[in-house]
Amino acid sequence: METIYVMPNWFFGADIILELLFAILTLAIALYAFKIYRLSDQRELKFFGISFSFFSLSYLFWAANNLFLLSVLGNESRELSLKDIGFYNHIGIYLYLGALILGVVTLFYTTLKTESKRIYLLLVILTATTFLFSLNKATSLYTVLAIFFLFIFAHYFRECRKTTNKLTRRNTLAMGLLFLGSIAFIYAPSYYVNYVIVHLLHGIAYALLISSLINVINKHGQKKK
């Protein structure tokens, strides 16, 4: 199985617009995290920024793949598959999945609050290996990423219980939706409705994250006045 995902024809175009929008939103979160990092020198912020930069890149590559590499499967659907495209076009898919792996692993590593670079390297290599040497590449990789998202969500859930901050709750919900999105993605190579569900869940999750960011920026603005 070399299918990365299938999607309904009617969703083509809308998905690319959404992916570009997600790329902008994740980049905005990354840039603000870097801004706060410059002020505070807290390494968690640096890794959080790096993680969202990778997410932004992965959405850009995803949109580019959808624009140039999809194969039409009859009247109903299109697919992104490693088997129907030339060797050099594989690079586009590897860049997309590479950025996605680095984004998820970096976000998970941030929640570990460890300073061991070896752990980070091990996580990246193990995840990449899952994709490279598995016969059922997409499903294996998406399953591993879903497990990472489960642990990320668990971290946010614990943080949420420690505080009364509404924004933490909102972002915990967002991480929960990203986790559900990663579950839906496991079946995206087989069911095209899942591809739409993933976009829907990501859309709500990023709307929540960006509304939290706007809230933080507004508070900052009010303080300066």
């Binding site: 603000y32 995290a33 706060i36 002020l39 505070s40 020198d41 807290q42 968690e44 912020l45 959080f48 941030t110 929640t111 971290h155 946010y156 943080e159 949420c160 505080t163 901050n165 924004l167 933490t168 909102r170 972002n171 915990t172 991480m175 939290s212 809230n215 933080v216 508070k219 900052h220 303080k223």
Partner: protein, 91 residues
């Protein structure tokens, strides 16, 4: 007893103690005002020096710590830093 302070709060408290003493302070004053053990205070001061929030000056009477512009900026932006880190589960 109050809620346990997180790292950001401890850093803020140390920097604020230095700023309140006209930006220059001896470690014994930091120890007294920051409510930390000696070892923890040393660890925090090493970190703050590394991050250039403070500089250490050695005088005849011992060490003195001076807050830098970056340290003052941290105090000014502390609530934004804390809000962001708390909201995004990084605190």
């Amino acid at each position: 007893m109050g809620k346990k302070r997180n790292r950001l709060q401890v850093i803020y408290d140390i920097l604020n103690v230095i700023r309140e003493k006209s930006g220059r302070i001896k470690p014994t004053h930091i120890l007294y005002k920051s409510n930390l053990s000696y070892q923890m205070m040393e660890d925090y001061l090493d970190e703050l020096k590394l991050k250039q929030f403070i500089v250490e000056q050695k005088t005849k009477t011992g060490k003195t710590y001076i807050i830098t512009d970056k340290g003052i900026k941290y105090i000014q932006e502390y609530s934004t830093i804390n809000n962001f880190m708390d909201a995004f589960g990084l605190g």
